[in-house]
């Protein structure tokens, strides 16, 4: 039981020991399957990947540094733009960090609405993953089915927050405002259709024979290796390790819901896919329970409305994002702007295993493996 991953040769773009048959293939930043502006420099021997060097940073905006120059309330928008597929989850992680530092109580109704929106966001994010995974594997139909469901979720987000993606809806100590009056009707309308959409995107792809033979047993990784690489979220659970921040260290009101943590077994691409699909069903379960328990009351702590000056100190919170565990480390010096803010982005940490996963696979697998990592470049580069 070693905690170290298998040793691999050092990364170097100009391999001194390169065989004459090896070819340097530059994939990205402009490539249809790199999920944004990711770049892989692949050494290929025919169709086999010999070595890979990932290049990141094409979307670097210095978000963490920008946070130091903004007041606490203004930072929410910057978190929206990190993982731009899981906006609500990111906002929640940031708000929790400030609330922890200030010892702020969040009204119960706000907590429930946060959970509902975060879990819907998880469903939307995983639906996007299913669609792009289909595209990476060469199937062009699933993306249409899964985007239909995602579009419905985003319509609800727009009704609630006014924006489809960059919501800026969570506030330190609560929410910007209460949900619209017809929120319950909207949700009653959405939930059965959304469940059907999830089921359809599941059925159309998950057990398709060609899809299975493309993904099953492709770059498996053991739980030990996954932990050594710092993989979290579906990447880790696919290895059979049952770790979910919502269960391991419940935050918000997650301890009040009954849900399971789906795990895979082999840690290969298909298990990652399967875990994500099952997570969608569990998220829908959470949303349904939260809608039943949704209490009345205020949605914002009065303290949160003012200019915030948290006491000097530091706080670290973690939360379960669709892509894995996000960590927000916040240092305050008592002024209205954070002294330092560091994010542990799940995509970035998951991407660190890319080389371990890609070496010795087929060129066609490199696309599928990258898809199964489900990275968002806005979060990797920040």
């Amino acid at each position: 039981m070693s905690t170290q991953p298998d040793t691999l040769p050092d990364i170097q773009a100009d391999r001194a020991d390169a065989q004459p048959v090896e070819m340097l293939l530059n994939m990205g930043p402009q490539h249809p399957s790199t999920h944004g502006v990711f770049r892989m420099v692949l050494w290929v021997d025919g169709e086999k990947v010999v070595d890979v060097e990932p290049h990141i940073g094409y979307l670097h905006r210095g978000s963490e540094k920008l946070c130091e120059g903004e007041q606490y309330h203004q930072i929410v928008t910057l978190f929206d733009r990190m993982d731009y597929i899981g906006n609500f989850n990111n906002e929640l992680a940031y708000c929790m960090a400030v609330e922890k530092l200030m010892g702020l109580e969040v009204p119960e109704r706000a907590e429930y609405i946060r959970v509902i929106l975060c879990e819907l966001n998880r469903v939307a994010s995983h639906l996007l993953y299913v669609g792009t995974m289909g595209l990476d594997a060469g199937a062009m139909t699933p993306v249409m089915f899964s985007f239909r469901g995602r579009e419905r979720v985003q319509a609800l987000f727009e009704a609630v927050s006014g924006a489809r993606m960059m919501h800026n809806y969570f506030r330190i100590g609560g929410l910007k405002e209460d949900v619209p009056d017809n929120f319950r009707e909207l949700m009653d309308e959405l939930m059965p259709i959304l469940r059907e959409d999830v089921e359809q995107s599941d059925r159309i792809l998950t057990f398709n024979e060609i899809f299975l033979s493309r993904l099953k047993d492709v770059s498996p990784i053991t739980a030990n290796e996954a932990i050594a690489f710092g993989l979290t979220g579906p990447m880790l659970r696919a290895c059979g390790y049952e770790y979910d921040v919502r269960k391991a260290q419940p935050y918000s009101v997650y301890d009040r819901f009954d849900f399971e943590v789906p795990v895979g077994l082999d840690g290969d691409c298909w298990d990652r896919h399967w875990v994500r699909v099952q997570e969608m069903y569990q998220s829908l379960r959470i949303v349904e329970q939260a809608m039943e328990q949704l209490p009345d009351g205020p949605v914002a702590s009065p303290l949160g409305r003012r200019l915030i000056r948290p006491p000097a100190g530091e706080a670290y919170v973690r939360a379960e994002n669709p892509r894995g565990e996000i960590g927000v480390y916040l240092v305050s010096d008592g002024t209205d702007k954070p002294y330092r803010l560091k994010v542990r982005p799940p995509s970035f940490c998951n991407l660190s295993a890319l080389r371990r996963l890609l070496v010795d696979t087929w060129l066609a697998d490199s696309v599928v493996v990258l898809g199964s990592l489900d990275i968002v470049l806005g979060e990797v580069d920040r």
Partner: protein
């Protein structure tokens, strides 16, 4: 003088063929976009003309007036000639594919042989296109196309040979006439399946669109082509798809034979039915990987096509009743289908076992956290 007249007739015939095939390609583009749209919860083109019927025309005009970029590093001559090779080989086989008893430009007694022989030349164009464009994705795609198309040529040839054995002729007219009592679909279902699957691979259609895989090699041999040059590849691909559909109809579905309607109508009806199946497959399946593709060709398709030839020959030699061939063919199909099914669903069955085991564990000792 008679020589000149025959030349003039041939030229006229070629012009008509070109015009008809262009219309066919436009109709197929429209049909594909509409059929895929319906499979994918959308409408397909609706804005250009009634039902978007003018969309392919608009596309064609756009492609022709676009700038035709030739990369600086490319081998100019090869880069230029590759699309020509591909499109010529696509057009040339249509000289002798009959659309009806008398609807053919040049009737050849060795028609099937001619078609099979000229269909292979297109591969050369794809490899040259990949090589000449001085692009690594292009080279990758060109080499992939060479491996794929040569592998799948063998089943196509062998199954065509089996049909020729049954009909005792390589003449397309006689092959169709031999099916007047019953189409070869009935006696040789195995041959139809092999021919259709290998045909999909021959024209690089999903799930065998490996050499121009959009998400991997970004278009493969076509990656550096643009404008009119690219549209020529596009044209050839659709003509080839139509040719495979037409050959499936001619060799297995009884060609233009059918009651009441004129023979051309029957031919088009059957061919477009096969074309729709091709589109349906495209909307359904993901893409195979290159090693799976090659393994499928050499481990499944080639042995099965040999089996097809052998049962056809045995049937002819001993003059067995026709249903015996059907039984042999279905037996081969069932055996192969069962093996493929077991192999391809092996992971799925394992997954289900694993999930059952996990569920049993959970039921026995529920996790304290839940």
């Amino acid at each position: 003088m008679s020589f000149l007249i025959s030349v003039a007739w041939s030229a006229l015939g070629l012009a008509v063929m070109f015009a008809v095939l262009s219309v066919v390609v436009l109709s197929m583009v429209w049909l594909e976009r509409k059929a895929l749209g319906r499979l994918q919860l959308r409408y397909g083109p609706t804005r250009t003309g009634k039902f978007g019927l003018l969309q392919p025309v608009a596309d064609a005009i756009k492609l022709i007036v676009k700038e035709d970029i030739i990369p600086n590093d490319s081998e100019k001559a090869i880069f230029w000639v590759a699309p020509v090779i591909v499109v010529v080989s696509a057009f040339v086989i249509w000289v002798t594919i009959p659309g009806g008893d008398s609807v053919v430009i040049k009737h050849l007694p060795l028609g099937l042989f001619y078609i099979i022989a000229f269909a292979v030349i297109g591969i050369l164009g794809l490899v040259l296109a990949g090589w000449g464009s001085a692009n690594k994705y292009g080279i990758m795609g060109g080499l992939r196309s060479a491996a794929q198309l040569i592998s799948y040529e063998i089943p196509v040839v062998l199954v065509a040979a089996a049909v020729a054995i049954l009909a005792q002729s390589l003449d397309m007219r006689e092959i169709v006439a031999a099916q007047s009592a019953y189409p070869y679909l009935v006696v040789l279902p195995l041959g139809l399946v092999i021919f259709f699957i290998a045909g999909l691979a021959e024209v690089g259609r999903t799930p065998f669109d490996i050499y121009h895989a959009e998400s991997e090699v970004v278009g493969g041999p076509f990656v550096e082509y643009s404008g009119a040059h690219w549209s020529v590849f596009f044209l050839a691909e659709y003509i080839n798809t139509f040719a495979i559909a037409a050959l499936t109809a001619l060799l297995f579905l009884g060609g233009w034979g059918g009651p009441a309607l004129p023979d051309v109508v029957w031919f088009l009806f059957k061919t477009y039915a096969v074309v729709l199946v091709v589109f349906w497959v495209r909307g359904t399946f993901p893409r195979l990987r290159i090693d799976q593709l090659m393994a499928f060709a050499w481990k499944v398709m080639v042995p099965l096509s040999f089996y097809t030839v052998i049962i056809a020959a045995v049937y002819r030699f001993y003059d067995l009743p026709w249903w015996s061939l059907t039984i042999l063919s279905l037996a081969g199909l069932a055996a192969a289908g069962w093996i493929i099914y077991r192999r391809m669903t092996a992971p799925a069955r394992r997954v289900i076992q694993i999930q059952e085991r996990l569920a049993a564990q959970r039921g026995a000792a529920p996790s304290p956290r839940t």
